[in-house]
Amino acid sequence: MDAKKGRFGIFGGQYVPETLMGALIELEENYELFKDDESFKSDLNYYLREYAGRPTPLYLAQRLTGHYGAKAIYLKREDLCHTGSHKINNTLGQALLAKRMGKSRLIAETGAGQHGVATATAAAMLGLKCAIYMGSRDIERQSLNVYRMKLLGSDVIEVKSGSMTLKDAINEAMRDWVKNIDDTHYVIGSVVGPHPYPVMVRDFQSIIGHETRDQILEKEGRLPDFILACVGGGSNSIGIFHAFLDSEVKLVGVEAGGFGLETEKHGASLERGGPGVLHGSLSFVLQDEFGQIREAHSVSAGLDYPGVGPEHAYLKEYGRVGYFSVTDEEALNAFNLLSRYEGILPALESSHALAYLEKMGELIEGKIVAVCLSGRGDKDVGVVSQFLGEEIKAI
């Protein structure tokens, strides 16, 4: 599918200042060198297994299955990964690569804080310095993760420019990288950014789909009818979709509908955006008629991003994946439902994928569905309590 270097159809590319080109070329060369290197692969597999806790279970959610009248609803439990989300799959890969490239410092952007925590964790474990860029608004709504990163020995740098969320944190991390290119590797947390990031991050995350495929074949003797995953930048969704692209499985990406697509307060880049260049690649972006990037909105900080990975743009255009959205409220309802039916607090990001079950109606009856539960929801209880109008206190 990577017909031209770093391109998915017309999407992708390397739209970055010349100052970064040297670093991208170096990264691409090293990634090409190490991705098939036996010692690198065995190192990465070791840490994924012994440190991150892979493989993660494919759990049959029986009460949820009964509730929706499906044949089986399975949850791919990325929330059980060390640090609480799928982000560690990628940060371990990139941190090991950075170390082999002789870099001594990692930087990363973070929205919900999950990628920041996962980067800070890999940095601590491998003895690398680490700085995490995070927008002021996200710092406010994800204060627990901010403190976790600090405990892990990382600097958390507050970004006060623009919308003060993920998009601006990426801008600031890129500016840091331009300045500190000699000793620093920029760990991008999603399948966005200039080539080789969308390919590299996808490769590191595709373990989600490979495991799911093996597990479902073992449990059901066949592939599922549907796979659902949330899409912000799109790393957990690409990760689970990729092993199924060549199958008949219906793949559904669920974007952040925010207050509703008619309100402009959402993060549905694929449904409501148009082709544009943001953060180094051509993809779908939320923008005005003059090409200025619009602010996204989502109750979930991890989906609050006006762009999306270029491979998703391609899969949409190509028609292989269906992209839909659910609102903040629908996601919060799904959060509550899973908590009460299965005893699992899902991340608000993953709650978007779960909320789509509700929208499937009769489509789901008698079907096998796998949902990527990309992260756990402990970080979100503050936001949820605000939404419910309840104060968190000891009873």
Binding site: V16, E18, N171, R175, I181, P275, L278, L282
Partner: protein, 267 residues
Amino acid sequence: MSRIDDVFSKARGEGRLAFIPFVTAGFPDENNSRELIKGLCDVGVDLIEVGIPFSDPIADGPVIQASSNIALSNGMNISGAIKLVSDLSDEISCPIVFMTYYNPIYRYGLDRFAVDCRRFGIAGVIVPDLPLEEAGEWVISARSNELDTIFMVAPTSSEERIKLIAENTLGFLYCVSLKGVTGARQGISGSTLDFILKVRSLTDKPIAVGFGISDAGQVKQLKGCADGVIMGSKLMQIMLDCPDSKGGVAEVLGLVEDILNESVIRY
């Protein structure tokens, strides 16, 4: 010979560096932005780089970010910037180049933008997030409309890349003086001078040095190795610091005039 070629051969002939100020279109407001461009031309700068503000300027430091945000909140955009310059075209004699990130021109339409630039007498365009590898389509649109496509080299560019970029740039080669984003800095380091001398040895095209240029002393240091200097953040900082916009324009023009009059940019 393009108009930018003329600028550099004239400066070379007079034994001096070409002076190129950068201003953000629509900052601090549309009227004063127009006055500033006109004033800079009147005091005798060689070429003016007019920045079209963008919401996510990844190559820019805090000052240009702030000026861009103010311009955007004033309603400035790519159409507005074209109009602003076209309104001035009868009143100014020095050539203008646009600096814009890629998304605004991608959205506007590459051909449409190139045609409009030509119609309103723009001499060239700098697109900081469009490296040579991605520039193919834009180069076709620009060159069929007699626009110079100005490319950048950076201290991180390999010798091979510098040669290739120099071959493909038109007008001049924009030499990014440091590893970093735009913003005023003190002095010019030895490694920066080495880098510029390396670029000099690889091309005969005019070289203009930008990023971090803030005073006459630095300009002096560049004599003999570069053909021009670009000063942006320093000028926009003055405007940001000045409580009234008119006063800001006057102060910027005063500084630029001093630099030009002190003849410090003469060899």
